[in-house]
Amino acid sequence: MDRKIYLDNAATTKTRPEVVEAMLPYFTELYGNPSSVYEFATQNKKAVDEARGIIARALGADISEIYFTGSGTEADNWALKAVADAYASKGNHIITSKIEHHAILHTCEYLEKHGVEVSYIDVDENGILKLDQLEKAIRPTTVLISVMFANNEIGTLQPIKEIGEIAKKHNILFHTDAVQAFGQLPIDVNELGIDMLSASAHKLNGPKGIGFLYIRKGVKIRSFVHGGAQERQRRAGTENVPGIVGFGKAVELALATMQERAEKEIKLRNLLMKRILEEIPFVRVNGDKVRRLPNNANFSFQFIEGESLLIMLDMNNICASSGSACTSGSLDPSHVLLAIGLPHEIAHGSLRLTVSDEITEEEIHYTVDKIKEIVEKLRKMSPLYEDFMKKR
């Protein structure tokens, strides 16, 4: 197949042409600074507020509760660091999960070096947070629970509503990293008891370099970037107007097509899983079968290593990702796969494929055919496979 088959939509997505079109005037004709007083620039302030309104409505939030950031990672950093700071007089304890994105985990590690105590809650074999362990971990000094909405590697959805209820019962703030879920699933911050939420535009066919943090009214939070009066003085810096406009457009489109997209993606994803499980031996699906993002499939192929698989897929124009050590730049495979209880050698053989609604069934069939060939080739050169077959 000559054309590229992009199956890494959890990494990033294609910016929709409508989004690019909405952004373009804000690079060229409408380049004014929203903080300026003249009419020419106030149009831009209006455009920023419109986008903020679209996002607020998408979450059931108020427009004054949305703060734009440069990325989902920045929003995560802000939420954790600012709560630890603003609530230091109440306590110094944060609870999170073992399968968070590094934007949360590495921020927690940083905070631990500065006197904050962090409890990392286990997940079950499907990646679902252990709620009883969460509740037991709560202390009088706990100021924040931060649990991701959906996992970026295995796609597992967390029991967000239940976590929100636990947080509320104990009068603790609840933050969720919804980078993978926002725009893919309906989210209502009031219904789910969410006090803070991070998201990013480029995961839902918006531009890169723009994210936001939702902060419920009444939550004490420190300014993250000091300077001008932008973002209610909490995140200074001239607004990324084209990015914000693009984000608004992307959210509008994502909401309008949500159900239709999810249905199509689930169908493609299930076809992919069905064929792989039926046609390739010694493979497992990672993550929950039902409580899972519509577009996510994650497999572990025994006896082979993920990076080899990725390179060979790339040579066949297929873009995918893996949780193997070699793709992380360290010697350890994905912390998520280890947290769901996979042994190291099985975690090294993982493959994540995340579909989009632009993928065709034909492309799925082609991909499975290639995976079959490659897995067979790599197993033929694997000493682990040789040992396994000799023992049988």
């Binding site: 590495h106 006896f303 082979i304 290593e305 990076e307 080899s308 390179i311 060979m312 040579m315 193997s324 050590a325 070699c326 730049g329 360290s330 010697l331 350890d332 495979p333 042994p343 190291h344 050698e345 090294h348 033929k380 050169m381 694997s382 000493p383 682990l384 496979y385 040789e386």
Partner: protein, 145 residues
């Protein structure tokens, strides 16, 4: 990320397979870290490596270094094979990304482990050959970030 030579040896690896009743077999690395290499040597009475095969579980660089290492020792005497260093393997591949240098160490170690096994089976001592570590990553510490 990889040189053309690495890609060539990864996609068309030389000498993949097993040798029955091999003169020496060496397996190094561990599955925990994501690479295991096994080298089979067929050595004749005059101490020349007539044939060599390998099997590797690992990344593209691990496969390519195994393949290149087998090419470099094939037809050599035991003493010549002992001189094939990880540096030689890397040079023959036109270099490796820094994070993959340990793969070339593993290839050198696998050859040494197979030679050690051969020496043990024959009851001989090969000058300059030390007992290989069973785990190449022993003592290696994780990086701070």
């Amino acid at each position: 990320m990889y040189t053309e030579k690495v890609m060539d040896h990864f996609t068309n690896p030389r000498n993949v397979g097993e040798i029955e009743n091999a003169s020496g077999v060496g397996t190094v690395g561990n599955a925990k870290c994501g690479d295991i290499m096994r080298i089979y040597l067929d050595i004749d009475d005059s101490g020349v490596i007539k044939d060599v095969k390998f099997k590797t579980f690992g990344c593209g660089a691990a496969v390519a270094t195994s393949s290149m290492a087998t090419e470099l020792v094939k037809g050599k005497t035991v003493n010549e094979a002992l001189q094939v260093t990880n540096k030689a393997v890397m040079e023959a591949l036109d270099g490796l990304p820094p994070v993959k240098v340990h793969c070339s160490l593993l290839a050198e170690e696998a050859i040494h482990a197979a030679l050690w096994d051969y020496a043990e089976k024959k009851g001989i001592k090969i000058e300059g050959l030390e007992k290989p570590k069973s785990d190449i990553h022993e003592g290696e510490e994780s990086e701070e970030y």
